[in-house]
Symmetry: C2
Subunit: 202 residues, 2 copies
């Protein structure tokens, strides 16, 4: 988290720093992001940066958190409604694409998602929050279709990685947004009903 000193800053100054940071984190992934670029753009001295943040990760996750809090709450609410994890993931996908109508948002998310590692998860928080989110899902998910908790977790995993890749691909073919959504839904359907179902005429 940023220090209290940062939070005490005038809204104007805070925004100047956050805007500069968003620009840098849109340009390159976290690992390559340059603190120098951020402070140059925001016109603050080097020392100040470290007075406000522990390092660039601190700032990065603060920016993401700020953007995602609403989103997470929406997802959680959606899940509570009927416990359908398939619907929840589709809802998440739709909301994220909706937020990304705004070009700045989209470009930032695009860089972020592209550079997510194998076990990094959406909605893009620090990895230690993953279990927290999974626990929430387990609590409210409809388990009637699953033999046990393990199986449910497996499917959540699958939905997770497929959603991640689908969002990535959608951002990279943003002109064909509708087609990409159909493809995503098709993948969800595959998980629900299977690829080979037609053969068996269910």
């Amino acid at each position: 988290m940023p220090t209290q000193t940062f939070l005490n800053l005038s809204e104007e100054k805070k925004q100047k720093i956050l805007t500069a940071a968003r620009k840098e984190f849109t340009r390159v992934p976290l690992q390559e992001a340059s603190i120098n670029n951020i402070i140059k753009e925001a016109q603050i001295p080097r020392g100040s940066f470290y007075q406000y943040f522990e390092g660039k990760e601190d700032l990065f996750y603060y920016i993401l958190k700020e953007r995602n809090e609403k989103l997470v709450k929406l997802i959680e609410k959606k899940l509570k409604e009927n416990g359908d994890i398939f619907e929840m993931f589709l809802y998440f996908y739709d909301k994220l694409i909706e937020i990304s109508e705004n070009k700045e948002n989209r470009e930032l998310y695009k860089t972020v998602i592209t550079n997510l590692k194998t076990n990094d998860f959406i909605p893009f928080e620090r990895n230690d929050k993953k279990s927290e989110f999974n626990e929430y899902i387990l609590k409210y998910a409809d388990t009637s279709k699953f033999e046990n908790k393990e199986d449910l977790l497996l499917v959540i995993n699958m939905l997770h990685v497929i959603t991640k890749l689908s969002i990535f691909q959608t951002f990279n073919s943003i002109d064909e947004k509708k087609e990409m959504r159909k493809k995503y839904i098709k993948q969800i359907e595959y998980i629900k009903y299977g690829v080979i179902r037609k053969e068996k005429e269910c």
Copy 2:
């Protein structure tokens, strides 16, 4: 690719460099890997490194390529046999785990897989080779279960990301190798027959 100068080196000297590099690429992901560490460990001067390689990426992909050539050929052969993409991915999974009985291999692969980005694909080559590999699959895959090429590609995508995550998880719970394999197979089964099949009594 490394330069001819590197390839001309004595086997001994080459191995010294490659061993040092593998050590570094096991320690940290490519982005964080330090050329300084490699040349210190391999006891070669700074200038020599750049005489042999364009940079660390060059060396990194050379090491991976060396390890994966056999693997790729095996997979391709397997697919040719019967065109079953599900079997192909399971075969790939098994082979990789087999290779990783060796601890050094496993540790290297673990670091590599952990740090694969959203659109990076196994078997871990430069991304521009992805389409090459996909074309090969399309050529030999049994398409009878799919309405069209698009649908097949979708399922390959799904298998891809699920396999990637499963390998990651297996490496991180290597003591429960057998259980992890079962989980992976279960996920493949889900894609084949669907989560909800039981309801419909197929």
